[in-house]
């Protein structure tokens, strides 16, 4: 056994997504690869909400996923390509709710290596063979079949290796029932490697290669290779056999080309571009992902471009020869890693960065006025079609899956002054970036809040009969009265319920099939369905202090520590047991387990006593009221609940005795369902107030709501127990609640209000709040005194707002200039319209300016409420990379924010023409910044840190110390290291500076410098 790490928050990015009916039912599920977690999602066809069915940690890296189905099968299997050097075939088992490994074949070393397959997966559309490929050379083909018992079988691997070739994409071609054929995009580099003149590199061509698996001979042949004019990055398989013309669509830069074996001529169609786009005109356009939709009568493809625009592609055929490719703008959504079209009409978008979306396909874009482009339209070489992006017309958003990826900076701290710290994560990219505030807790949806006359003590919900789906009444108990509310369209007070209203209530519930029970200090009121009322009065001056009820049993504790037990008989009469049980001390709390299915009674009664013990008492007729076991407690108990939880049909669930203590601790103990023995106690501190426990239902299963200074929910979800705080106010008392509007909720009391709450996002560890940003956040520092943060947001390949405006103006002017004499008026009108239209970059993405163009913003914001206090945009091509709060020795009572930027930085090879350090004066409240000066330096500034009353700044390869001057920062001393400095840390107690550098192959890319006390000189004490 090995202990692997588990993360607090599971990865939220989705790298791969495939769909199929993995459960073997008619419903379709989506299987997603989240790096090291494999998940199965099911979009509910009625509500459109995406539910996670199972989430499995693979402790490896998922690199590719594939869904495949054997010929004639009804169930899809999942094939996983990973870094394990193995091919793994999984089957989803819906009864156990887990993935089962059907096959696991080892073929190579572990790790993401160049020649070890795992990068690419492709399947023959008829499900007869799978190809698994590496980025170079190796490809293995496995033949899939079924044996006599209809089990899936896998053959030994057949090699389709080709040395010196780099693989760009693989896909299985639909050839009907002929030999399975795979198409690959490959580049052969053998000539390039042997040609010192460099001529071969200029002539290198990508080939579309077909590999055929000869099922008769049981080997793979390289059937045919055709050189391509442009490099392609993606292949789309076209339905064949009965359903279509077969063949592939090659997605090249700027073009889509349909190709097939035989007489088929190439059909070439340019990828349409946005009209009047601010993008760099030199840029090519790639297809990032595609999805195929096929029915018996038609098929089409959706492809998405880098800008997020989705196009619908259809093929026109003439007897299996494709004559025309039609392409039409569909809608724009965030750029995706994968798209899935489901049979139920949903489109799932697994975004590259940021949240994932589920859309409903409302229209197929067949009969709108969007122009349709065709491969037949004559175009000059290099010309393309243009379309105008617009808001969603064919899709409508139904659900959103939150994603933090990519997290670029984070801070853990209690900036909101709550009892637990929050996580502040700066995440996302470009216009979709945000600061997300994560709080440990379950998100609570408030369905209703209503004020009550006075402060209630307790609340319950009761149904009218066991067959009812929804609750009929809410019963609220006050110090000297009981209020009964009926649940309907509205919640109203009723007086004819049969409950006694002039006394406080200790407990009430449905008992038997359709009778109601109210327990109050002076007695028990049993209300039969025909309104007959049976009363049991407490003897003499003794009153009922505590009670416990389930479907058929009632136990009460009288003052003085006496227990009276009642049971429902066959006629629905409540009968007292002949004996009573005297206990050594006063009863503090008690609990009954539920009646197990098919039985007449629950076997255990748990009683918490004032002597700090909990006793389990048998209710079996053979030894009724006999003590079974006992547990001593560390503090006084407050409440008890016996709940059956966990497990599924196969593993079975267990009884748990939950004990809430007055010191705010929750104990959870396993209660043996035969002997009543207590074992395996787990302890958890919930809050400062005594813990009260309430049984509720969550997703049809038992769950427990615990209230202390915070409310917590204990539930069993995806084969694990979760004990999670609710992100909500303190609750006094709670009960489960089911109505038509809210089938699974909680009704609770907080001060003098009654609240109806719904808990929907079960399984989530954090409750998220999102504050949008405008550019990719790079660094975030916290001003501790005010709790505000200073963020630097920097985008490569981007325009600043100012340049963007200028570019638009310039384009509008060009429009007018280029127009002929008679078109002037029209052109002016168009230009004005162009200047006016403003597509939100959040939805339509920011234009990509050009390589080496940068845009940055320095922002001061309150991360708790998201107030943006101040923005400071930097000029075009200045890229901010570091920020620090520094106090200078010559101005000891002021704080300065130093932002380091580089000017005209080129990433590859790394070059820049100087850098700047911006110095801002931060106000004492931390809510305002003033630019003091801007210091130009000769290299990129990548690291800043305060150091002994001065600023230590990494300028390219130089480590410098600067002091604050009136006009600029003043250089005091410098020291040179070998490679550019990226990060600096000071270890003040040791007078040491840690330096992180770039370009170091060593695993510890750190220098340690010792700063000497005499003036500002630094000595390298330990290098390399």
């Amino acid at each position: 056994m090995h202990l692997y790490n588990l993360t607090l928050q599971k990865p939220t990015a989705i790298n791969q997504a495939v769909h199929g009916s993995f459960a073997g039912t008619r419903q379709q599920e989506i299987c997603v690869g989240r790096g090291k977690v494999l998940e199965l999602l099911r979009p509910d066809p009625n509500t459109g909400k995406v539910h996670t069915l199972v989430s499995h940690e693979v402790f490896g890296i998922i690199r590719s996923l594939l869904a495949f189905r054997l010929t004639g099968g009804t169930k899809d299997y999942i094939v996983v390509g990973s870094d394990a050097g193995r091919i793994v075939v999984l089957e989803y088992n819906p009864t156990k709710n887990c993935f089962e490994r059907v096959h696991q074949e080892t073929f190579g070393k572990t790790g993401c290596r160049r020649v070890i397959p795992g990068q690419y997966l492709a399947v023959d559309p008829k499900g007869r063979a799978i190809l698994i490929g590496a980025s170079e050379k190796q490809k293995l083909v496995y033949i899939m079949n079924r044996d006599a018992a209809a089990n899936l079988t896998i053959s030994s691997p057949l090699e389709a290796h080709k040395g010196y070739s780099i693989c760009f994409s693989v896909v299985g071609i639909d050839v009907g029932f002929e030999n399975p054929t795979f198409a690959c995009l490959e580049v052969d580099y053998e000539d390039v490697d042997n040609d010192p003149t460099g001529e071969a590199m200029k002539k290198v061509q990508q080939t579309l290669t077909f590999y055929e698996l000869d099922l008769g001979l049981n080997h793979v042949v390289r059937k045919y290779a055709e050189p391509l004019d442009e490099m392609g990055n993606n292949l789309i398989s076209v339905p064949g056999g009965q359903d279509g013309p077969s063949g592939v669509i090659v997605c090249c830069e700027n073009y889509l080309i349909y190709k097939n074996l035989g007489d088929q001529p190439d059909i070439r169609c340019p990828i349409p571009r946005r009209r009047n786009d601010l993008d760099d005109p030199e840029r090519g356009m790639l297809i990032v992902c595609s999805a195929t939709h096929k029915t018996k009568s038609m098929f089409f493809f959706l492809v998405q471009s880098e800008q997020g625009d989705i196009f619908k592609i259809t093929l026109e055929t003439d007897e299996d020869i494709v004559t025309e490719m039609k392409i039409k703008y569909f809608d724009t959504v965030p750029p995706a890693n994968a798209m899935c079209i489901l049979k139920t009409g949903f489109l799932f978008i697994a975004s590259e960065f940021g949240n994932h979306y589920l859309y409903q396909i409302a229209r197929l874009g067949d009969d709108d006025d969007e122009p349709e482009f065709s491969s037949r339209m004559p175009l000059e070489e290099g010309e393309t079609f243009f379309f105008a992006p617009r808001p969603l017309q064919n899709l409508s958003l139904v659900d959103e899956l939150e994603s933090l990826a990519p997290v670029l900076a984070s801070h853990v701290g209690d900036l909101a002054n709550e009892d637990a710290p929050q996580i502040y994560a700066a995440c996302g990219r470009g216009p979709r970036s945000s600061v997300k505030v994560l709080r440990h807790g379950l998100e609570v949806t408030e369905m209703a809040v209503s004020e009550l006359p006075g402060n209630p003590n307790a609340v319950w919900t009761v149904r009218r009969s066991v067959d009812d789906e929804y609750d009929a009444h809410i019963v609220v108990s006050f110090v000297n009265a009981t209020l009964v509310l009926s649940i309907g369209e509205t919640v109203e007070e009723v007086t004819d319920s049969g409950f006694l209203g002039t006394t406080p209530t200790l407990a009430c519930s449905l008992i038997g099939d359709d009778a109601l029970l109210q327990i109050y200090p002076d007695g028990i009121r049993h209300i039969r369905s025909d309104r007959r009322v049976n009363e049991w009065k407490a003897p003499g001056k003794r009153s009922i202090v505590k009670c416990a009820i389930n479907q058929r049993q009632v136990a009460i504790a009288l003052s003085g520590g006496e227990i009276v037990y009642f049971e429902l008989d066959a006629t629905g009469q409540l009968n007292e047991y002949t004996e009573r049980k005297e206990l050594s001390s006063e009863v503090v709390c008690m609990g009954l387990s539920e009646v197990p299915q098919g039985e007449l009674r629950a076997r255990f009664l748990a009683v918490g006593l004032a002597d700090r013990t909990v006793r389990i008492i048998s209710l079996d007729p053979q030894d009724c009221l006999a003590p079974l076991s006992m547990q001593a407690l560390p503090a006084d108990s407050e409440s008890l609940a016996i709940v059956e939880m966990g497990g599924d049909e196969t593993t079975g669930s267990a009884l748990f005795l939950n004990i809430g203590l007055q010191n705010g601790v929750l104990l959870r103990t396993v209660l043996d369902h035969l002997t009543g023995d207590l074992s395996d106690t787990r302890t958890r501190y919930l809050g400062t107030r005594p813990v009260k426990l309430f049984k509720v239902k969550m997703q049809g299963k038992n769950a427990l709501l615990a209230t202390s200074s915070r409310a917590w929910l204990l539930y069993f979800y995806q084969n694990r127990f979760h004990l999670t705080p609710l992100s909500y106010d303190t609750l006094e008392y709670a009960a489960g609640f089911a109505s038509e509007q809210c089938p699974e909720g909680v009704v609770a009391i907080a001060a003098n209000t009654l609240r109806i709450l719904a808990l929907e996002k079960l399984g989530a560890v954090f409750n998220q709040m999102t504050h949008p940003l405008t550019r990719t956040p790079r660094r975030m520092i916290v001003h501790q005194q005010s709790g505000n943060v200073i963020l630097i947001e920097t985008d490569h390949n981007a325009y600043t707002d100012e340049t963007k405006q200028q570019r638009r103006q310039q384009m509008a002017e060009e429009m007018v200039e280029l127009a002929g004499e008679d078109e002037q008026e029209l052109a002016a009108e168009m230009a004005a319209q162009f200047l006016q239209e403003n597509l939100s970059e959040k939805e339509f993405n920011a234009p990509r300016a050009a390589y080496g163009m940068w845009a940055s913003v320095v922002r001061l914001m309150n991360p708790v409420n998201g107030n943006k206090l101040q923005d400071f945009p930097l000029p075009q091509n200045e890229a901010a990379f570091c920020v620090a709060i520094v106090t200078f020795a010559n101005q000891p009572d002021a704080q300065f924010v130093l932002v380091g930027a580089s000017n005209r930085l080129k990433l590859r090879p790394r070059q820049c023409s100087g850098g700047y350090v911006y110095t801002f004066l931060l106000s004492t409240q931390g809510d305002h910044m003033d630019l003091i000066h801007k210091t130009a330096v000769d290299e990129a500034v990548n690291a800043i840190v305060g150091f002994r009353g001065m600023a230590l700044i990494g300028v390219g390869r130089l480590l410098r110390i600067y002091d604050l001057g009136k006009r600029k920062l003043l250089r005091k001393c410098e020291n040179k290291v070998k490679t550019p400095l990226l990060r600096l840390y000071t270890l003040s107690t040791f007078e040491k500076i840690l330096i992180a550098r770039s370009n170091t192959p060593s695993p510890l890319p750190h220098h340690v410098l010792t700063a000497q006390r005499q003036r500002c000189s630094c000595n390298k004490s330990q290098s390399e």
């Binding site: 890296i61 690199r63 760009f168 042997n194 460099g198 290198v204 990219r429 470009g430």
Partner: protein, 87 residues
């Protein structure tokens, strides 16, 4: 002698199986080119690394992968001229 022959054939087998396994006549260009190809394949193979590069360059992940695959063809330029004395 027999053993030495055996080692040699084993090495040849390794070299053919694992692209990039070194040999005694390997030059600097061979080594560096292999190194770069290995690195690019690894960047593509690790989804998170690919995302990181995509965020840095503000490009789509597909574009970054496409660029890396193209760079794998000749990551370090043409090989040096062969010296006739080597053969």
């Amino acid at each position: 002698m027999a053993e030495r022959f055996h080692v040699l054939s084993q090495l040849e087998h390794l070299q053919s199986k694992y692209v990039g396994t070194g040999h005694s006549d390997m030059n600097r260009w061979d080594w560096v080119t292999n190194h770069h190809r290995d690195s690019y394949a690894s960047y593509i193979g690790h989804p998170d690394v690919l995302s990181l590069m995509a965020v840095c360059e503000n490009e789509s992940r597909t574009r970054i992968k496409f660029n890396f695959l193209q760079r794998m063809i000749s990551p370090c330029g043409p090989p040096p001229e062969k010296n006739p004395l080597d053969d």
